[in-house]
Amino acid sequence: MTGTLPGVAPMAVPPAAYLVVGTLLFAIGLAGALLKRNALSIFLSIELMMNAVNLLFLTYARMRGDMAGQMIVFFVIAIAAAEASVGLAIFVALFRARRTVDVDKIALLKW
């Protein structure tokens, strides 16, 4: 678990630190997604989780000297843009139908 590659300066900050911060942010995002009731806040927490994973990808890309990690992050950011626009459109339509975005109140499929 080193950050050294031949011919390249080693990482000044140990990669384990980035991994810990990334997983911590992921856990915080997960807590937000589980605990919030506003649909938009849940969506924001999901975005945080995606960005935490981006951080992990970048750390591994730097450790292995592989550009694939950065390419994945590039695609994830673009896909998040597409997903956010469609998701928010869904929330707007939902709000127009039910006048609320509280996920506890949007419970038509429950028994």
């Binding site: 678990m1 390249v8 000044a12 900050v13 384990a16 630190a17 991994l19 810990v20 911060v21 990334g22 997983t23 911590l24 942010l25 992921f26 856990a27 915080i28 997960l30 807590a31 937000g32 589980l34 605990l35 919030k36 009731r37 506003n38 938009l40 806040s41 924001l44 927490s45 975005e47 945080l48 960005n51 951080l55 970048l58 750390t59 890309a61 730097r62 292995r64 000297g65 592989d66 550009m67 694939a68 950065q70 590039f74 695609f75 950011i77 896909i79 998040a80 843009a81 597409a82 956010a84 626009s85 469609v86 928010l88 459109a89 869904i90 929330f91 707007v92 339509a93 709000f95 975005v101």
Partner: protein, 173 residues
């Protein structure tokens, strides 16, 4: 203990910023303030990206994520006038505690796994070494190795734009 260097100081500040404002985002009741806390978190993540020799990704995170996607969130919040979240009667405190414990447990498990994972061997050799001339490399890779994904992505963005338009049209009946 790694030696004190400018990089370490910047990393510490950025991680305090990112984690602090992520917690603020989860704790805030008003959605507008959640969005703004997330913006600051993204700035912290952008600082990490620069340290990890990915300045292009860093500026993409600020430009696209913080500067466009979260602005879209803000617009929708204002459109739906979600200024004051409805008074949260804690009808199910047990569920809140269970959720918190689950998130912490998952975070712990993931951290442990990430720290203990061995450096993978036997995988295919890395594409290109970053840290020098990274942007032309990204450009070249997008149009060679990742061309299919790139074209599929542009199609996906088109579909998303059309879909968002259709979903949010008012139906006048």
């Amino acid at each position: 203990m790694p030696a004190l260097s400018g990089d370490l100081v910047v990393f510490t500040i950025a991680s305090l910023l990112a984690i602090g404002f992520a917690l603020a985002m989860v704790v805030q009741k008003a959605p507008v303030r959640s969005v703004l806390s997330l913006v600051v978190t993204f700035f912290g993540l952008a600082i990490f990206s620069i340290q990890l020799a990915a300045p292009f990704v860093a500026v993409l995170q600020v430009f696209v994520y913080a500067g466009a996607i979260l602005v879209l969130f803000l617009f929708v919040i204002m459109l739906l006038n979600l200024g004051q979240e409805a008074a949260e009667e804690d009808r199910r405190p047990l569920q809140k505690w269970l959720g918190l414990v689950a998130a912490l447990a998952l975070g712990g498990v993931l951290s442990g796994a990430a720290l203990r994972a061995p450096t993978p061997k036997g995988m295919r050799p890395p594409a290109v070494v970053p840290l020098a001339d990274e942007i032309p490399t990204i450009g070249r890779l997008l149009f060679s190795d990742y061309l299919l994904a790139f074209e599929a992505l542009s199609f996906l963005l088109l579909v998303a734009a059309v879909g968002a338009l259709l979903l949010s049209k008012r139906r006048f009946e």
